[in-house]
Symmetry: D2
Subunit: 429 residues, 4 copies
């Protein structure tokens, strides 16, 4: 597949580039230098690495090809900041990203500044011949950095939680309240039939894994008006959900024994009361807010306990397209709440499809019919991970609002739960 | 889901029960007592355990419920021979099955005889009230034992291969030739449209995971007339297929590095020539026979190299139903070849869809729309494994012919390759 | 160091060879074929392997060098039965000894018979030129097989204990009683001074690690009249010994947490009562018999709790030479009790220095001053293990009586406890 | 054992306290904030942790007991900075010390300042009643911090070496030359007989593990005039020393295979030439300087190849006391070379016994006869590690000169080599 989106405006994209770059730095403002360095589990990366890697992406995929007389900022940064691109050479082993004290944070910011300056210059004098390709790469680089903005937050959250001092990330953002308590969860019906899902090329940017748009056949189904809440999940816990194997996949049951899971990540029982630890501090559980930091195993076990199932990604996308038009109204990173919020009571349609929590679907992350990876090195971006992962949809409170769309496919292993992952119930009609 | 198949004939099923039980014993005839005991990897089990476990299945799910005055053959056999049924209590850890020298092989055969006698008696005096349920359980127990017959062979194959003395299982079955060399592989087109797949209840027995029958929407596609052959796979190897990351899933690439895979399991390069080790002895590779003992990773890498893909399980089933009506003509366990054979040249349709090699599909093993596990303990049979596994179709040279059907869904982790697993190419029309 | 012991009598040694070989077979008489095969932990080996390896020792170190026209019994047996001799080529990885179903037990006995016959023929026609060396090798081979006789028993004990059916090895040998209860433990004083320890070449055979005899300087000390008993050890347990870190080495404390040790191996608490599992069956603990199956960590923790220490190996040997002349009177394998027994009340000196339980000393297994390993391949026998192991002395109820001597140095890692290992207290004068 | 050294002078010890504290800070001057945080292997610790832990030692063992109205600097620092004292409560798992971004480096320095101020105040108003105990604890705390100064350097060395950017610690200290090339190694004879070793209480401070002074019996031996050099070690490498199992302990042979060791740590072959990486930069090997960063396994293998052995710790101490009186003249941390240097040619006695490299001895780290650990919590300081470690003697180029003495016993596992560890040959007379 070739990079090709509807004609991109150079100034517009440059503005988005600047805004995105500023946001990454802004997300790190509350950090001490030390907080940029550590890696508290193999799945997470140090903030310093995220800042460097997103910069390397622009340097390596744009500057190195289109800048005349290109010189890398540092000869070893390709080794240090290549994530998983086999085509781009050797790299630091993923679990060893937190073992690198150098480059310093300041050096990484110098790297960022330098690459930004070179890119600005490159764009100023861009020949028409390559403009389309460069802007397309810039576009993908912006979206790529947005993904890492979410990871900066989730990885820091894990880092701070593991620390005996339990520092807060943004205590100033702790909410008085996120709105009135929502009413009951409703189930909305969607009639079966043939639908189209996947990226519509006329709508702008998408990753290759959302393509091509194609027909799917759905049966009648119903989907919950909002994600499962903490209150509902607590009922599952209190009903012995973690002790009853019948709800669990075999691998999930083994996992919760091995890890001693008895609640979502970041829940802690203090003197008999469940507390939740957030980026804005510790507090009591709000029964009306969506449960988050659950694995696919836990989502499926809850669904089994509730006599429901998860929506497939096809169902989810069709429901979103038809019953939830207002994507940007969600609780995204832009709101700076850093945590899922209660559903508002307004509206007849689906609530919280976008933002708040990523929603586990019942679909494995596999290629769409007719899928072709991007040509060249960026073909490694998505396609090579299409095994043993499940699809999540809709973005979270840590996702930039303009990053998400209804066809967006996120994917994680079924045991992972350090993302803002929740779920929504569905059932056969 | 309730157990319910078209009315089963008591005598007919009893005859099949006896035949199946005899076959298990017959498969073990070439074994020394010592060969029943060892477990050469966690995925495999000792033959002794298979013989005991299949017997426990009948004792535990039929005798213990329907025999009046039931006494277990031995108080600890439930612990020793329960495989993975949480509902049935504690059990030997899977990787520790080969650490049990007792019960002796002779005691396991006594166990088999005793349970068979009790079952015969039970069936003789079966009340009408429970007949349906008992016969249904017997049916599932027979199919269950057939699955383990295949495993007895594949697990022994691994055991003998790992042994420095390389004993042969059935050298007397080594073929002079399996038929004339086949011609070229052709691609057969299947038009897109809405089809039905899954088990048709009027056709007799099926596992719960094949249900319910449901509509699927396919796009035009073409499917290869036969599985990929050893000769074709050798070309992939010789073209550096195992050295070129672009063909591989990320997990697959990591796996082949970690394990040092450079060819299918049981292939060995001896003085520059590839030899293959089979249950009937070591010999040169026959370029015309299907390649087998490959992982999903290897199947997908080959497909990528060949510019094709794997069929989805929906495509596979529709193609089989329309283009390959003669299931029983395949190379099954019944033929006692213990190895895939060359395709015959006769016929215009698909060859070797059934028997020879299990065929990896591009589909994750997930529930069908509307899937319900069997009620009770047997609900653990299939459903709880629906994660991180890929579907294989069609049976192999180690599968009893009357065990297989077009809707049959086998499933393994993508790295596993000790089964007779091969693959067939497909492509978009 | 060269092999050289006082002149060996050909007939005498041949008689001992035959007796030793018969004993190995006799020890296996209670076994089912299956019991010869399995390996329940990496430190243990299957009985079949012990029988083959001890035979390989004679074939490889004697027949292959001194038999004219030597042909190995089987080309792969060197691979299968070499234990750890790098000089003798590749071999089965130690933890994989239990994965070999072949050769069969019967084939191993054929191997034994064949090698014995060849050795008898060799000895019949032995030239004077090589007689000394062959007899010396035969001598070492006999002692080597005696070591493996002890291991056959301890490895089987572990195998049977791990088995859910808990088979007994020799229930017919279960004792009514092993004698009257012993009196109090006394401490016997040994005056400090310069002593000689190590093998006296005039006394016959010894391993290289017992040489050379050399002077040591001891301070006044006192040594307990008998090993610590089960009753005494139970007091340590009941006093919270396994919960109090102050008694433990750091590594030992980590080990008991990681493994959940709360008592010696083979002790089980059944409804509040401690039971002990032996080769002759399960029974209550006899408070007067020596505690066994304890690690060095446990021995040292007990000593710390009791305000004592362990004897050094130098102290042990001097005490044995002076205060316990009657080695052969101990409870050895020859008595066929298969378990340590109560001390008899007779005598003023040290009791149970020989037989019953191996006694952990406070000495690391290191070379004596002037130590030289045997020349050639047998230099790998002892010397290369001189690190991270502690010395045990005195033999056990599983040691053949004519295998042991006061200078004999056994050695194990401090965490190992599947041997009949106990300990005796000492203290500064 | 009670803390008791010859009367300590309050002002003198306070001066040493201040000097030691300043040195720790000085050692960290070349560091970026990021360099304080990471932990590149479980054996190493972050510099930040060392700074905090040495401070905790004073706070916890002195202030908390003797300061009236004591308040800990921070309630969680006991958890964060306790190393291994079970008696002092829970603590961060050792391999997780590098996962703590907080407290910040600045907070740790505040902690240091605060504890120092409190200690100064405490000492100013110290009652006579407790003066002896407080000064004794201060003394041990100073020595404790000196040990960690060495670790700060060796842990940083590992951290910088693992980093792709290979930062230098003190490039300004790189030597032009460390003196003329030394002549041949000589062997000096020491006559056998009864000697005394261990700490002489009249000489001032020592750790409990150096006590009590006691008699030992030595045989005639000879000891090398200087440690083995890089040139000599290179000859071993080039003679295939790492490929010849006969030189190696079994565990050592397994280790070098598993880790791929082919030279000391920090040696790298660049285009056929061996380079060495030091705290002052990379350079060619100086054949005349002592080899360092070798494990006990490598030391013993070299000795075997050279037909020698290592000295026992008893031999080493007697030789040092008699043949090398000038301890303080060595190449210590005070010289700020950060690397072992060539032996000077002057003198007839032993060279480089103190400073340059720690010297592996052939002695296991075990208690001396009559050893008693310190009473109370500090009894955990040394005694609980007396298993599976070998003794090293003499200090290194990273040891403060006034930290070392001839009776000093350092100890490490035989596979460890990130310390400045070398060795000296010995042989029987």
């Amino acid at each position: 597949m070739q990079l090709s989106w509807p004609a991109l405006d150079r100034n517009q994209i440059l503005e988005r580039f600047r805004k995105t770059r500023r946001l990454s730095a802004r997300l790190c403002e509350p950090l001490a230098v030390e907080d940029y360095v550590v890696q508290t589990m193999p799945d997470a990366s140090p903030a310093k690495w995220h800042l460097g890697h997103t910069t390397w992406f622009f340097e390596n995929f744009i500057l190195s090809k289109f800048e005349s007389g290109f010189e890398p900022f540092h000869a070893r940064f390709n080794f240090l900041f290549n994530s998983y691109y086999e085509s781009q050479g050797e790299r630091v082993a993923r679990p060893a990203r937190g073992l690198c004290s150098r480059p310093t944070v300041q050096e990484v910011y110098s790297y960022r500044n330098s690459v930004e300056e070179h890119l600005e210059l490159l764009l100023r004098d861009l020949s028409e011949e390559v403009e389309g390709e460069v802007l397309a790469l810039l576009e993908i680089g912006i979206h790529h950095e947005q993904q890492h903005q979410e990871l900066i937050l989730t990885d820091l959250k894990h880092c701070f939680f593991m620390n005996a001092l339990r520092p807060d990330y943004r205590p100033d953002c702790a909410p008085a309240s996120f709105g009135a308590a929502a009413g009951e969860t409703r189930f909305l019906s969607v009639p079966g039939g043939t639908y189209e899902i996947g990226h519509d090329p006329s709508r702008g940017f998408a990753y290759d894994n959302e393509c091509p748009r194609h027909a799917v056949l759905l049966q009648d189904f119903a989907i919950a008006s909002r994600p499962v809440t903490c209150g509902e999940y607590l009922a599952f816990i209190e009903d012995g959900g973690y002790q009853e194997f019948r709800h669990w996949l075999s691998d999930g049951w083994a996992r919760i024994q091995a890890e001693g899971w008895r609640a979502p990540l970041y829940w802690e029982q203090v003197e008999g009361t469940w507390k939740i630890w957030t980026l804005t501090g510790a507090r009591s559980i709000d029964p009306d807010e969506p449960v988050t930091h659950v694995s696919y195993y836990e989502a499926l076990a809850f669904a089994s306990w509730a006599g429901c199932r998860l929506a497939t990604e096809q169902e989810w996308e069709i429901a979103a397209d038809r019953l939830c038009p207002a994507i940007r109204a969600g609780n995204f990173l832009d709101q700076e709440r850093y945590h899922p919020a209660r559903a508002s009571q307004a509206g007849e349609g689906l609530q919280q499809m976008f933002g708040d929590v990523w929603e586990w679907t019942g679909s494995a992350y596999l290629p769409y019919p007719g899928y072709r990876p991007l040509a060249g090195a960026l073909g490694e971006y998505n396609g090579k991970f299409m095994i043993d992962q499940m699809v999540l949809r809709g973005g979270s409170c840590a996702t930039p609002a303009d990053h998400i769309r209804s066809s967006y496919r996120n994917f994680f292993q079924p045991y992972q739960r350090w993302q803002f992952s929740g779920f929504r119930l569905a059932r056969d009609a």
